[in-house]
């Protein structure tokens, strides 16, 4: 049991650290909840290509497909630096979700066609799972994919799909068979973002998070774009979620540094906030939590290296705990600003450019990629073996409920 790093690790950390330090503009600020402009999107797209050239975005993949073949710990060092500098890649989903799944379940041709451009930062992917009636209940996907010769024809609607740039690929979960239970009839297709029949409607959400509705109207997709086996898509989706959770990096505590800096500079009643006992207690609590998140992030990374010996992780606390704590730092800032917190950036008297209100709004959005309630159920059922009613009884229960 030890919590240090080798010399080679420290060398890698310095290299990645210096890359970000030299390449990021000195006025760079992490974008939580702040609506970004076209120039900002352009900067992000160019930056991610730079990072992709160094291999940082695809560090864990095999070298053959543009990765660096990094170990879990080495990947952790890269992602910890990303957390440290507040970088979130545009098209991050491509790196962290789509490509790893294709590397696991795709054909060699698919790996060439999809993974390599993602590695170069030249391919933006959207994860298109959620539908109006299929959010937490992912298996309830209704979008139909009907076989037609060499193609499938897709019809349906996706919603709450995150992403700001125009996508090159839509990693789409569709229903290829009507089955009971429903999850056995799903498949995953890579649909071109500009395919005939695909249309987008932006879905503005709280805190400026960029989401979309996507409509598929008789979209023809070649058979070669089916990832893995037909009707086995749900299991791939579950793998996707595993990668999603694995993509959470060890918390590098930059958020806490920013908060402490804020509390050192901001004064109330003539004294810096950091001298206020309530503020101190809140900061201490956050520091305690961040220590845990740092450790859990590294635990997850280390555990992946030990997977062969110890088997798969039966539950993962990292995302669940992060979401539990999400409102806290936002609340600290918001409570400090009081009535000033509600002011928009272009309002008179706005403090801190109105950014606090936006990030507070954004902190309400902890439902993507698994609500804390769902994550709790997953940990309880799969991790602890606590019981649940099998799905096949649910319709019956629903009927009984409406009978009163």
């Amino acid at each position: 049991m030890e919590f240090g790093f080798t010399e080679a690790h420290e060398k890698l950390r310095k290299e990645v650290h210096d890359f970000f330090m030299n390449e990021l503009p000195s006025d760079h600020y992490p974008q939580s909840g702040v609506r970004s402009s076209e120039e900002h999107e352009k900067f992000q797209a160019e930056f991610v290509k730079k990072a992709a050239r160094k291999g940082y975005t695809s560090a864990g993949w095999p070298k053959k497909y543009g990765g660096l073949g990094f170990t879990s710990i080495e990947q952790g060092i890269v992602s910890e630096q990303m957390s440290y500098w507040g970088m979130v890649w545009p098209g991050a989903l491509g790196f962290s979700l789509v490509a790893p799944v294709i590397l696991t379940a795709g054909t060699d041709e698919q790996k060439e066609r999809f993974v390599s451009p993602i590695a170069r930062g030249e391919s933006i992917c959207f994860e298109c799972f959620t539908e109006p009636n299929a959010g937490s209940d992912e298996a309830n996907v209704q979008m139909r994919a009907v076989e037609d010769g060499d193609h499938y024809i897709l019809n349906g609607q996706k919603t709450f799909i995150s992403g700001g740039q125009k996508p090159d690929w839509l990693y789409t979960l569709v229903r290829t068979s009507e089955t009971i239970p429903p999850h056995r009839g799903l498949s995953i297709f890579m649909v071109p973002g500009d395919a005939e029949g695909v249309s987008y409607r932006p879905l503005p959400t709280m805190g400026g998070s960029r989401q979309n509705e996507i409509f598929y109207d008789n979209v023809r997709v070649p058979r070669e774009n089916l990832i893995g086996e037909k009707d086995r898509g749900f299991y791939l989706a579950m793998t996707t979620f595993e990668f999603e959770r694995a993509a959470v990096s060890p918390d590098a505590r930059t958020g806490l540094r920013r908060l402490v800096e804020f509390c050192r500079k901001e004064k109330k009643n003539g004294r810096p906030l950091i001298e206020d006992p309530h503020v101190r207690k809140m900061l201490a609590r956050m520091a305690m939590h961040q220590q845990v998140m740092w450790l859990l992030g590294w635990y997850a990374a280390w555990r992946r290296t030990a997977r062969e010996k110890m088997g798969p992780l039966s539950y993962d606390l990292t995302m669940f705990m992060r979401k539990q704590w999400a409102p806290t730092s936002a609340n600290l800032l918001m409570n400090t600003l009081g009535m000033y917190g509600q002011l928009e950036p272009d309002s008179r008297h706005a403090k801190y450019n109105g950014a606090v209100g936006r990030s507070w709004e954004a902190s309400r959005m902890i439902h993507a990629a698994g609500t804390p309630e769902i994550l709790q159920v997953v940990i309880a059922n799969r991790g602890l073996g606590l019981p649940r009613v099998p799905r096949k009884f649910n319709a019956m229960i629903n009927e009984a409920l409406s009978e009163g």
């Binding site: 000195s26 006025d27 970004s36 402009s37 125009k166 503005p204 602890l384 019981p387």
Partner: protein, 420 residues
């Protein structure tokens, strides 16, 4: 980065668990509580023979020279089994201090008895005032005076919440020998013969029912100056480190207890039938169980991180404070939640260990730094946290929020038109 135990540590864990499962079941714990010594002298002999006192002591004193991680593994098992003994007082708080700061003569005289279990030591630090006003674990709280008188010092005052004083052979008394400067400059450690005239131990009645903590009255007690451990006026530094190690061991104890509580609670949730179904089907019961896991796992890792940093002689003030605050709160939360799941069944005195875990947890939570005190330390450490590092590239002016008027969806004009 390695979260696994070494083979020898796994063996120690298994051996300790098996031993305590056999020798320290609930019945023994309840019997121990009733004894005036507050611990089982037979069991103490047995663990001495197993070498549990000397785990971190050098081989020249009969120890194993192992790490604090090894000791934490042992303490986890002791916490799991609710094994109460003078181990923390004797080995960690006092023995370790003598090892770190004692002279060669003192070490040769005292440590063999610590390692072979023949000597019991107790730390007398906290006082009625300091225990009340939040200075229990700081040098400011040391007010009991020791006044020089020839070759001796005379200690006069009252110490409160002293663990194992009533069974100790010697008491390490923390006294003030100098006033007027910085608080830690003037704190001296005296190893006092427990039979000295003027010492009275009055056992305190606590909720754990255990005969463990005393009020110790020092009524003009004479101590030879040669019984000072470490430097005159310089006792705080070695004591602080021993207390940090002690705090981490208490964390490990709470982790071990929490793990057992978790297992008992999940098992109950799976098997207890009410309304024709296991109660674990209810999401609120599941929430309690999941929080238990979150509490125990998070306190486990912060504890071992702190132990590792102490082993590596790194500055661990922040990490120890985080571990103690977190583990303390986690333990309280774990006990609370298990009581909610067990409900009536968990409250009975005659059956079940939950009331015991809850009460013992209460002791561990406050000893050597309660969450309130530790969060004060953490806040102090945060004051010197560096600013976020600024990158060095050319500024682009893209992050000024006030300039960002254009909503992002307008850049999608072509898609807008398609959707209609």
């Amino acid at each position: 980065m390695d979260f696994s135990l070494k083979e020898e540590q796994e063996m120690l864990k298994t051996m300790a668990r098996d031993f305590l499962e056999k020798e320290c079941p609930e019945a023994v714990v309840r019997d121990t509580i009733r004894r005036t010594e507050g611990y089982s002298t037979e069991l103490w002999r047995k663990i001495a023979d197993l070498g549990w006192m000397g785990i971190t002591f050098p081989e020249e004193y009969g120890g194993m020279g192992a790490s604090l991680i090894d000791l934490a593994v042992l303490y986890e098992e002791m916490g799991r089994a609710m094994y109460v003994s003078p181990h923390l007082s004797t080995v960690v708080l006092c023995g370790n201090t003598v090892l770190a700061a004692g002279s060669k003569e003192q070490k040769d005289e005292i440590l063999p008895g610590v390692v072979n279990g023949e000597t019991i030591l107790a730390l007398a630090l906290t006082e009625p005032e300091s225990a009340w006003d939040g200075t229990a674990w700081t040098p400011e709280g040391v007010a009991v005076k020791a006044t020089a008188d020839g070759d001796d010092y005379v200690i006069d005052g009252v110490k409160l919440f002293v663990h194992d004083a009533h069974v100790a052979d010697r008491i390490l008394c923390v006294a003030r020998t100098k006033d007027g400067g910085a608080p830690e400059d003037g704190v001296t450690l005296f190893l006092v013969d427990a039979e000295s005239p003027g010492i009275t131990c009055n056992l305190l009645k606590t909720m754990s029912g255990n005969h463990k903590q005393s009020e110790v009255v020092f009524d003009k007690v004479r101590v030879p100056a040669k019984n000072i451990i470490g430097e005159l006026n310089g006792g705080w530094a070695p004591l602080k480190r021993s207390m940090q190690i002690g705090a981490v061991m208490l964390c490990a104890e709470m982790v071990g207890a929490g793990q057992k509580i978790l297992e008992l609670t999940v098992d109950y949730a799976r098997t207890r039938i009410q309304f024709d179904m296991p109660i674990g089907i209810h999401q609120h019961v599941q929430a309690h169980c999941v929080q238990l896991v979150a509490d125990v796992d998070s306190s486990r890792w912060v504890t071992y991180l702190a132990a590792w940093k102490l082993d590596e002689d790194m500055d661990a003030d922040f990490d120890v404070a985080v571990a103690k605050a977190l583990a303390g709160e986690a333990n309280e939360s774990a006990c609370w939640r298990s009581h909610q799941v067990f409900a009536g069944v968990g409250s009975t005195e005659a059956l079940g260990t939950l009331p015991l875990y809850t009460r013992f947890g209460n002791v561990d939570r406050f000893y050597l730094g309660d969450p309130e005190h530790c969060m004060g330390i953490i806040a102090g450490e945060l004051e010197s946290l560096p600013e976020p590092e600024k990158p060095k590239g050319k500024p682009l002016g893209l992050w000024d929020v006030s300039k960002q008027g254009l909503p992002t969806w307008d850049i999608w004009k072509e898609y807008y038109e398609k959707a209609g």
